[in-house]
Assembly symmetry: C2
């Protein structure tokens, strides 16, 4: 709910969330009282706007719209929550709306952010897709922003290489932007993950893109800028990566191309690492997520599950997958809760996403019991 | 004479030169006794070969051939000797054979080495000539190796930009290699300097090119590699520059081009600075030779000259230049001595090279006295 009322990643809200928890934070936002929680130095006029928006939020309607869009809500502490986001401190997202068969946390365990110019050259598109493809063949997921140009080429290359790709958008999960990448987003939902801080119905804003970039940088241990002019948003993503002490890499290009000038500035002034192929990138990131290359996923014991999660697991079929609404009904829990438990079960390796929805993962003890 | 008998830049010879002087060193080489000067750890079998070659040298014939080729001999301590070469320690050249109207030391005061692949791409040639041109317009001389490809483009760009260029060759001054660059070498003689460690008659060898590269690196405070494959000799020059603690710079290129792979390796593994234009290069080298941008050259007082040099100066005409042989005759000194004194006078700003030879520099007190 915070995600539709409050500016994403606002440190004041982050601090209150950390100290008081989500329920109290929401209450403070609704009553316009959240600024009182901050010290005198952190006062801001935003809380008045937030309070107005928060009072207009109808939680049930929001969850309905998310369910219609096939989105689940992932909050800090959830099994699907990517731990690297915690590097953002009080600017950590309050929550992420997630779509797609992939598990966000799993996809980010061995991931690289690949970003660049929207108006990329043929060279930039070629390098982005080739790099992402080769990274995917080496079991690296590619995180990017779903934009035209380098972002789209990177997502496509990753999917072509057989790994889950993560598209972090700056709009609601039901308003995938830009529309021209609609077919790509369908593929990402099918084989990867779309994640956004913004709740259903939110349209993208210019500021939103910049704020979104910190999430891209935070989800991966390293960011590669493939092709970027001096004013490209990709440099903003690289800046966030640097602030997070993540590895910043740049692909060089012709010095005669203004579209590579941003990359060259990263190399010259920002101490970015010069990378020319997937092997260079992998070498920089070392043994990150190396354990995922064989088999993938960490399977936990069913005994370790809490009763509520076990109830949801028992509602998941063994062969043909079913949607979360059906599972929620079968388990006798709300949609919101069902989605969270399903995320946990997916992260734990108990279930997986099939074409038609969730099913128990073949080869696990659970599946055998139920055949 | 050492330059036709002994391997260039051999540290054993360099050490003996330093401790005993040129006359004794030459005597030791001729008698095959130079190895005795070294400690037991520095023994080498080369002195036998050197002695054989040294005994075959006829000094007068050598100087005649040099004079025919228009070459002068510059030795350490001469006014035309570039002080930066001393950074090579015992591997410093014993002497340099120099051709051209430019003054070697003056040309190197504000200089950049620009090197790269012989089999350069259109991109590499374009960048090399443009970079050298823009550097020349900013009063930077360009030092390179006179080879096809990037070297030739850099020399041409520098000449086009109006600065003296320095071509360091790996052959005798009378055997300019490669012959295909003959027209370029003529222009360099006219507007710049050709320098070589090798005496008249010496043909280039593969080893000679590598040894030559240390001189290119030593003559400038920084080396730029424009385009180089992984096995390019330009990386050898960059290695020398690094060993000399000079600034190593590399121009990036498309990662899809094997001809830029060496540059990218320099950026990634050798901590080379990424440069994309002349301004980047100038920024890296800071205030090197900044005082030369206005006016150029340091004019010394005639009173400061020793009598022998003053005698040579008096033999230099005021308007139409004449060749060194004529000056030597007029001054009543040997050709070798005349060339050395002329070099000193040129470095001191008293004389300059005109189309037909040396003349007194217009605007100096000397010229006025003699009009």
């Amino acid at each position: 709910m915070l995600s539709v009322a409050v500016d994403p990643g606002h440190p004041l809200v982050g601090a209150v969330l950390r100290s008081r928890g989500a329920v109290e934070a929401w209450d403070l936002v609704r009553h316009g009282a959240i600024a009182d929680e901050a010290g005198p130095g952190r006062r801001t006029r935003r809380p008045e706007a937030w309070a107005g928006r928060a009072r207009a939020v109808v939680g049930e309607r929001l969850m309905e719209r998310a369910a219609e869009a096939g989105a689940r809500l992932v909050v800090p502490g959830d099994p699907e929550w990517p731990g690297r986001l915690d590097g953002l401190g009080d600017e950590r997202p309050y929550a992420l709306w997630v779509r797609g068969r992939g598990d966000l946390r799993n996809a980010c365990l061995r991931a690289v952010a690949v970003v660049g110019s929207r108006s990329a050259s043929a060279y930039g598109l070629h390098v982005a897709s080739g790099l992402a493809h080769d990274l995917a063949r080496d079991s690296w997921s590619v995180v990017s922003g779903g934009a035209f140009g380098v972002d789209a080429a990177a997502h496509r290359g990753c999917l072509g290489g057989g790994a889950a790709t993560v598209a972090v958008l700056a709009c609601g999960p039901d308003r995938l932007y830009p529309g021209g990448n609609g077919r790509l987003f369908e593929e990402v939902v099918e084989h990867g993950v779309i994640a956004t801080e913004h709740g259903p119905g939110v349209r993208p804003t210019r500021h939103g893109f910049l704020v979104r970039n910190r999430v891209i940088a935070a989800l991966a241990p390293g960011t590669v800028v493939v092709e970027a002019g001096l004013r490209s948003g990709a440099l903003n993503t690289a800046r966030h990566a640097q602030e997070l002490s993540r590895t910043v890499m740049a692909v060089p290009g012709p010095v005669t191309s203004a579209l590579s000038a941003g990359c060259h500035r990263l190399l010259r002034d920002w101490n970015a690492v010069c990378v020319t192929d997937a092997a260079d990138v992998a070498e920089q990131l070392g043994a990150v997520g190396e354990e995922l290359r064989e088999g993938g996923g960490t399977v936990m014991a069913v005994d370790g599950l809490d009763p509520a999660t076990r109830t949801v697991l028992e509602a998941v079929p063994a062969k043909k997958g079913v949607g979360p609404a059906e599972i929620a009904t079968a388990a006798g829990v709300g949609m919101d809760e069902a989605l969270r438990r399903l995320g946990l079960l997916a992260a734990g390796g108990f279930i997986e996403r099939a074409a038609s929805g969730w099913r128990v993962r073949p080869g696990t003890g659970m599946a055998k019991d139920r055949v």
